[in-house]
Subunit: 336 residues, 4 copies
Amino acid sequence: MARAAVLGATGYLGGELLRLLAGHPELEVTHAVSKSQAGRPVADVLPNLAGQYEGLVFEADGSDVDADVAFLAQPAGEAMQVVPGLLERGIRAIDLGPDYRLPDPAQYARVYKHPHADPDHLAEAVYGLPEFCRSRVPGARLISNPGCYPTAANLAIKPLIDAGIVVRASGIVCDAKSGVSGAGRKPSLKTSFCEVTENFSAYSILDHRHVPEVLRVSRIEESEFSFTAQLLPLDRGILETIYFRATGIGSAEDLLAVYRKAYADEPFLRLYPAKQVPDLRAVTRTNFCDIGVHYDAKTGRAVVISAIDNLVKGAAGQAIQNMNLSLRFAETAGLL
Amino acid sequence: MARAAVLGATGYLGGELLRLLAGHPELEVTHAVSKSQAGRPVADVLPNLAGQYEGLVFEADGSDVDADVAFLAQPAGEAMQVVPGLLERGIRAIDLGPDYRLPDPAQYARVYKHPHADPDHLAEAVYGLPEFCRSRVPGARLISNPGCYPTAANLAIKPLIDAGIVVRASGIVCDAKSGVSGAGRKPSLKTSFCEVTENFSAYSILDHRHVPEVLRVSRIEESEFSFTAQLLPLDRGILETIYFRATGIGSAEDLLAVYRKAYADEPFLRLYPAKQVPDLRAVTRTNFCDIGVHYDAKTGRAVVISAIDNLVKGAAGQAIQNMNLSLRFAETAGLL
Amino acid sequence: MARAAVLGATGYLGGELLRLLAGHPELEVTHAVSKSQAGRPVADVLPNLAGQYEGLVFEADGSDVDADVAFLAQPAGEAMQVVPGLLERGIRAIDLGPDYRLPDPAQYARVYKHPHADPDHLAEAVYGLPEFCRSRVPGARLISNPGCYPTAANLAIKPLIDAGIVVRASGIVCDAKSGVSGAGRKPSLKTSFCEVTENFSAYSILDHRHVPEVLRVSRIEESEFSFTAQLLPLDRGILETIYFRATGIGSAEDLLAVYRKAYADEPFLRLYPAKQVPDLRAVTRTNFCDIGVHYDAKTGRAVVISAIDNLVKGAAGQAIQNMNLSLRFAETAGLL
Amino acid sequence: MARAAVLGATGYLGGELLRLLAGHPELEVTHAVSKSQAGRPVADVLPNLAGQYEGLVFEADGSDVDADVAFLAQPAGEAMQVVPGLLERGIRAIDLGPDYRLPDPAQYARVYKHPHADPDHLAEAVYGLPEFCRSRVPGARLISNPGCYPTAANLAIKPLIDAGIVVRASGIVCDAKSGVSGAGRKPSLKTSFCEVTENFSAYSILDHRHVPEVLRVSRIEESEFSFTAQLLPLDRGILETIYFRATGIGSAEDLLAVYRKAYADEPFLRLYPAKQVPDLRAVTRTNFCDIGVHYDAKTGRAVVISAIDNLVKGAAGQAIQNMNLSLRFAETAGLL
């Protein structure tokens, strides 16, 4: 069995990693690091895991863990403090946070409002969206796990751009909705139950930190892309409704064919028959990205819907998928 | 006191009419018609109204009610059966359903899949979105209350079109989300609790029955307008996120100024300072439509958010607003 | 118009006071005090009140407000700091917190873990459950508004004890469930959306701070009363399921008769026919307490259900009811 | 691999069986029977199972399935129509419905309002609560899976009765709360989203069909047991708050010791340290029953909380646990 360390193990991403890794056939979690819960048994803090991590106790300090791979599920700015040490000690690092997603340290500083502490490893980091970079993952020491919104967006948009069927002058609209777990476990008024239940609201309109990941991967310009993030009154799931004008296709079937070709052998992409719509229920607690298409041939208007679980394909599940590729396990191990 | 009849009084729209009319200073409900609950006291069926409608009992038949005004809150196709009789007996009719919203009976038949039973009164019906037709309401015998989605959409879009600031070639996207009460009270699997909670899904993509109301009022073409309806896991409220390219303005303030001018004296429109976002909580159980704007001057991308309560400004509240205008009461009577 | 000050105006209780008082015919809010939001217009912070409190700005300091009555909606321990000053300046005080609910300062200190700062006024405070103390309110300078759980409990239990139909040796069980707004607006992990949604949990089992209010008002012993508080995944409402053995009655009708006699002329008590059950929907956003009864004559087992809105009859509505009595307005003014 | 048939495969219980069995190491589902969805592929109807049941199509008729074991997840009254035929053909039957839970056909007829169609097999059926009947399961041809409420109740109550620590004259109160999935998938107004969200209500007070299962298993009298069922605004989970007077114990630890002894080697019982409370989150999507205890030594009042997932330990999970025992697989196979 390979040995894994999870840093930031009591946040929602860390807890989801532990939940998924409990059933992994090739890997065991040997270190769970949590500053706030150090010294407590895992099952005390995460009772749904009782019986699955006997003897594992949260540790305070992740700087000297010994493992084959480390999952970094910490707030922005923390992974870049520990990655150099991990790499030096020969531990593969998979960062679920944003520290290594943007290759340019100046852009990182603009978006995240603090300087990058480890610019030396930025170029080396592989942006781990396996559907587009599978061959680069196995050799990588450092994998940057994509953001949740960009995962759903790029899986829907990049094949369209690659196929050349988007009328780019008309722009692409991505209206995104996410469950509250995407905001993390730290209490705040915005994520308090009474503020969220029976409510719905937008945030970071035209200005979301995840947008650069979409522009970069799908190779589109900011002027072509309008993105709104919105908070759904539910725990987990992201659904993005994507609008564009299509050219060069004659039917919804043609639109679907673009995806069928792009994702012919993908284990985690599910394409819906034209006019059928994915919903969040179908992807919750799975590593699937479900895609459905609509097209009005008379006017060229197209709508694509992309749905994932933000904690799984949008974070912990994709991180495990990357780990599987990295350690040359079956790509779906622990995920199906 | 004027006398009102409510037909379809035990659906969600009818119940909301009764709730709001209980506090109206100028009008009392003298007839509540419900086939399914005929013979039962109102407070037995709608316990939240206990103490407010002593002695009022649901009636089975609305064809011979005696009142000054009748609110028709029935399923599509039923109002057109009773409107001719009401008008003949001198009773003003306010239809909350779709029967009189489209002026062309052929278009009605295409959209609603059955022929129109009362084409003679279609031309006479006033489309009651008071912000755009206030002067025509007082004299009208028949008022067609707008659909919930078109109310939020037209209040956001028509001022933009009138001001000429939309780059129409790029199209307008309206990504709409609604609470479940918009689907009515009749049980169905799609609106069952376990199917809706922790879920989110789209329906009627590029093909919603309400779209013709938007095209007609805001004077845009179908090819210019992409509309998606989506089901939020909550009871009431509609929020629409509207995307377009703007021309002829230099800032979000300029965009806001378009609305300030259009809605200078409107009692039920609330405009948010630029970059502030309306949410559903702020409009729930009110007759307000809240509008917020975002604009990126560098690229021309604009986003407008429009929020209403689908049962109030989207239905029962707007119907009372129309009734107030029709009977020359204060427009806000019973609504503030 | 009488003038009111609201202290703690941006918590959930304070916000509910403002919402309800906006429609009060005899009283206007002249001061809204909030340390955290001082200087901001009310409608900015509470957008659902936009248009209703033009010109009213939150103030930082409530110590020198000038008004006829002050509503104190602050955390435990704060009201007792300002009450002496208010009374000295001739302002009637209605405290929605726990500071003046227990007459013995030593008991207060045991329950709330800090000494009482104003023991001199404890004896003077009237415990404002109007159904049981109506005559004492008008002359009172200081009214202590009951806790939310005890309001629902005492309205259900006291008539039973007074009628002598409870087999006290078997004890009374009160299984109480509350919406999350009862926990206040301060963010915490326990009231975060992702912890509450799709969850249900108990707290303060056999040890809730509100129990002494029930024992005192209903005149029962701690050994006779088992109380559990539980958190419902919803915003507002309290429902209590109360179990006991009855003696001296022969039917559910006899049990109902106990309440009919006790509440013959009460404007805010609604009694359900035997075997019908109140639910939270029926009382939400109202000042009603709904009561329903079940009785098995064969075995003497009885179940009573009591439902209120924790923010209305359990807090702000009852405070207004007390204020109406205190200032000799109609008891239901602003509440029906 | 053993072969299983699932009858009633598109209800919530059937869907949960399919979800859980997809990961079972010893058994494959060879027949999925659903009248309403006959002819459709499983993954079309249950998209969350896409990729897991390739080629499996719903069948209309379960009367001639060929398998080693049949799970019957149908409405009350349907299993008893097919059980005789299954047994005749040598197929073990596990009934998730109520048809074989009560040994007396007259009692069945009284409770379920229709006569029993297969009284001959009632005596043979093993009531499959493995914690209390483990040895009887392996040889059984017909297993009656317990009701969801009785599972949580008996696991909490029977050890107390067996240990003789309940003051029976004071009675036992079981205040039960369930998620909406317990009501099944058939649409009804009571389980419509808008009726359930932000609501909470009781039903079947003192009169629930599941009570006889508790009386029989825990060996208590109806006069000693007060049971209320209540509907939580959430999808899945049952939490029961159980009140009684204890005798012969001195502390909460003593109370806990009763359970520790009863459940020393149970794989699916988790006991919480005294004063810690189980919640629904910890058991959701697991086959665990979590139990927590509270005791006030001064007065003898005791409270026990029991939590399960109604669809797992309360239905499909327990059915698989029984099947594992019946076919002599590891008891936890497919469940941990």
